[in-house]
């Protein structure tokens, strides 16, 4: 057969194929499914939970801890609440948004889950939140800290249950630094992406609202491993206070090693939640006793529920003290349990409203409630690293600010009218 004849046959075949495609595309296949329906309140049965977390890849530790926190609650308290059985399916998204979305689709369309918990990383969280809302499935976020999750990208089915927005916790922290902390000037070092911008913006606004002055802001790429060049810049700035916000993981210890290695003073440091999380404490050890930080989670807080939780986790993990990721997963589980206890089996929008109308008096975070945008309102702690009786390092609160919301003292409408935080716009 000559090439020309063969080509034209193929083209003809392709043409027929395309025509068939269009013909078929008009009719719906039997596989198409309607959106999941909501069950009646007060019912019993099973609440199927789809838990998405990066248990492999660059965020594997944080991702696994978030899952562990959730599972720990159910293991300690049983998976049945008020006649409702909780069934959890865990999926790994490796921190990749496309994988996150595919897993979310699988959980909703194939496994028919009633609610999605997670994922962790900000961009994956935003993507899944959007998808979940589009198919009518509630999406709870135990750790994701993107401001916009409960601001510009907020929707009726997305709830941030176990953490705070990037700017939210650091605002009162900044205020504390300028007042009780006694600092006049500050230099900030934040990760150069949304979470870092939000954290620094929160701190800066809080610090300056109480008369402090931020004299320089330094930004580092998220993948930085060698902080020496930034520490030199910090030293050259000559401020009273050094505020540092990282996304958790390696930057915390890397920064501290560079900072302390250059002989600078630890008392001048104020870190955000993630830079001073348990991962950092474990890696750095006793040399960082006395290090101060700002967070919504303080594992050293003197409270019965916290002690119970810490002991349970230490048993679960062979002696490790729980950080914010574990706490986020755990508090989300306890929230769901409390709501099911009061209402029986609820799904869909009823589940969301049950959660957001609930005030959790004695959670491991303290008193937690929710605002109109489905974000947490709760305590923020100024913490200090201390060695407690069991020989481990804990973040112990030295100051508490109650009922912190995400609006940084403004009206929601005014706050939302601002541009999103960036290097150039810091509020």
């Amino acid at each position: 057969m000559t090439p020309t004849k063969k080509s034209s046959r193929r083209i003809a075949a392709a043409g027929i194929g395309i025509a068939a495609v269009f013909a078929l595309a008009a009719c719906a296949p039997p596989g198409a499914e309607p959106a999941p329906e909501e069950t009646e309140a007060g019912a019993t049965g099973t609440l199927k939970v789809g838990f998405i977390s990066p248990t492999t890849g660059n965020f594997a530790v944080a991702g696994q801890e978030m899952v562990d926190g959730w599972n720990l609650y159910w293991e300690t308290n049983g998976t049945e609440v008020n006649g409702v059985t909780i069934e959890t399916i865990v999926e790994d998204d490796a921190g990749n948004p496309e994988t996150s979305l595919t897993k979310a689709r699988k959980l909703v369309e194939q496994d028919q889950v009633d609610v999605i918990v997670g994922p962790l990383i900000a961009n994956t969280a935003l993507a899944v939140a959007e998808y979940a809302a589009s198919v009518g499935i509630p999406n709870l976020h135990p750790v994701a800290a993107s401001d916009d999750l409960t601001q510009r990208n907020a929707n009726d089915l997305t709830v941030r249950t176990g953490s705070m927005g990037g700017s939210q916790a650091n605002f009162p922290g900044g205020q504390w630094a300028a007042t009780d902390g006694g600092y006049d000037t500050a230099v900030t070092l934040c990760a150069d992406y949304a979470f870092g911008w939000e954290s620094c913006a929160g701190f800066k606004q809080g610090f300056e609202s109480e008369g402090g002055e931020v004299i320089q802001q330094i930004w580092f790429p998220n993948s930085t491993t060698d902080f020496s060049t930034y520490v030199s810049q910090i030293q050259a700035a000559g401020a009273d206070l050094v505020y540092v916000a990282t996304a958790g993981g390696a930057p915390g210890p890397n920064f501290l090693n560079a900072y302390l290695g250059l002989g600078l003073d630890q008392d001048q440091l104020l870190l955000n939640c993630c830079a001073a999380d348990q991962g950092t404490l474990r890696t750095m050890g006793d040399q960082i006793e006395g290090l101060k930080s700002i967070s919504y989670w303080a594992e050293g807080r003197d409270s019965e529920v916290v002690t119970e939780f810490v002991d349970a986790y230490k048993e679960f993990s062979d002696g490790k003290v729980p950080g914010a990721y574990v706490a986020g997963g755990y508090v989300t589980a306890s929230l769901v349990a409390s709501v099911l206890e009061e209402n029986g089996l609820v799904t869909g929008e009823d589940l969301v409203s049950a959660i957001t109308e609930y005030t959790f008096e004695d959670s491991i975070f303290g008193r937690v409630s929710f605002d109109d945008y489905n974000n947490t309102i709760g305590p923020v702690y100024i913490r200090e690293v201390q060695k407690l009786d069991d020989g481990n390092l804990y973040n112990v609160p030295i100051a508490t600010i109650e009922d912190v919301d995400q609006w940084l003292g403004k009206d929601p409408e005014d706050a939302l009218a601002q541009p999103t935080y960036s290097q150039s716009f810091q509020g």
Partner: protein, 288 residues
């Protein structure tokens, strides 16, 4: 921004980071020079070396022992890889590169399984404590130590290359592979040996690097990219080129982050792209 103290510190920052890069890149460039393989698993070797080094250092408190252990473990791994895998695709440029990509995947995931995902650093007491103090300038001894180690190893490598029989064989092999076989040397073992040496260097770099920055999942890709940039700029196969490239990249990195932070992402790749376009064989490389 331009005070002498700041300049001196940033220069030292750049030099010490460059020193680490040299330790890392020297192995990579040696392997390429002789075997024409770009070992994409080099970053994974660094990572494995780092983990092993940290474990041994934590157990024994001795940095030298940690370095030797890391070199041994990574060297052995490389030996297995070379003998068991690379041998089958010897001489075929593309499959070699691809194979090493696959190896990198596997080693990285296995490291996650064995060592967990927490960032690992050398324990503080193993890292040479204290700092050099000259007037107002304070600089950690450890980073100066790294510069020293890199210099010593660099000189050693150049000496071996130019003064010893092994070095002569390697240089001959770089120029013309068939000649070595004609000389009666078993080229296969030269190749294997070089691959192991290159990997061992990466392992040592990992251990030493663990004192400056953390070892954690994902580090293998980051350091590999840096190493590739250095050897492209310096010239594939050249030790002096790797030295110059490392110092250059280290200094650019340190100062660019301070003076033009907006370009922080591009400081590494722009020089590499420029070199590739205008002088593809690198500053010291030979025209293949």
């Amino acid at each position: 921004m331009f005070e002498p103290l700041f300049l001196a510190q940033q220069a030292l920052n750049g030099l010490s980071f460059g020193a680490l890069l040299f330790l890392l890149a020297s192995g990579l460039t040696l392997v390429f020079g002789l075997m024409r393989i770009v070992n994409m698993a080099h970053g994974a070797f660094y990572m494995l070396g780092g983990y092993v080094g940290v474990v041994v250092a934590t157990l024994t408190g001795n940095l030298l022992l940690a370095g030797i252990a890391a070199a041994a473990v990574v060297g052995f791994t490389a030996f297995v890889v070379e003998l068991g895998l690379l041998r089958f695709v010897r001489g075929q440029e593309l499959p070699e590169v691809l194979l090493t990509i696959g190896v990198s995947f596997v080693i990285a995931d296995l490291c996650l399984a064995i060592f967990g995902g927490d960032p690992q650093n050398l324990p503080a007491d193993v890292r040479i404590p204290g700092a050099l103090v000259i007037g107002e300038l304070t600089y950690p001894w450890y980073r100066i130590f790294v510069i020293g180690v890199a210099a010593v190893i660099g000189i050693a490598l150049i000496l071996v290359q130019s003064r010893t029989r092994v070095g002569a064989i390697v240089r001959a092999g770089v120029d013309d592979r068939e000649i070595i076989t004609a000389m009666g040397v078993n080229i296969r073992w030269v190749f294997t040996g070089m691959f192991v040496v290159g990997a061992a260097l990466a392992g040592i770099a990992g251990t030493i690097g663990a004192g400056m920055q953390s070892i954690l999942p994902g580090v293998q890709n980051e350091v590999l990219l840096y190493a590739l940039v250095v050897i492209i700029i310096g010239g594939l196969g050249s030790i002096p080129g790797a030295a110059v490239g490392s110092i250059l990249i280290g200094l650019i990195d340190a100062f660019a982050k301070a003076w033009i932070p907006e370009l922080a992402y591009f400081t590494i790749f722009l020089p590499m792209a420029l070199v590739l376009v205008f002088r593809p064989t690198g500053l010291f490389g030979r025209v293949a």
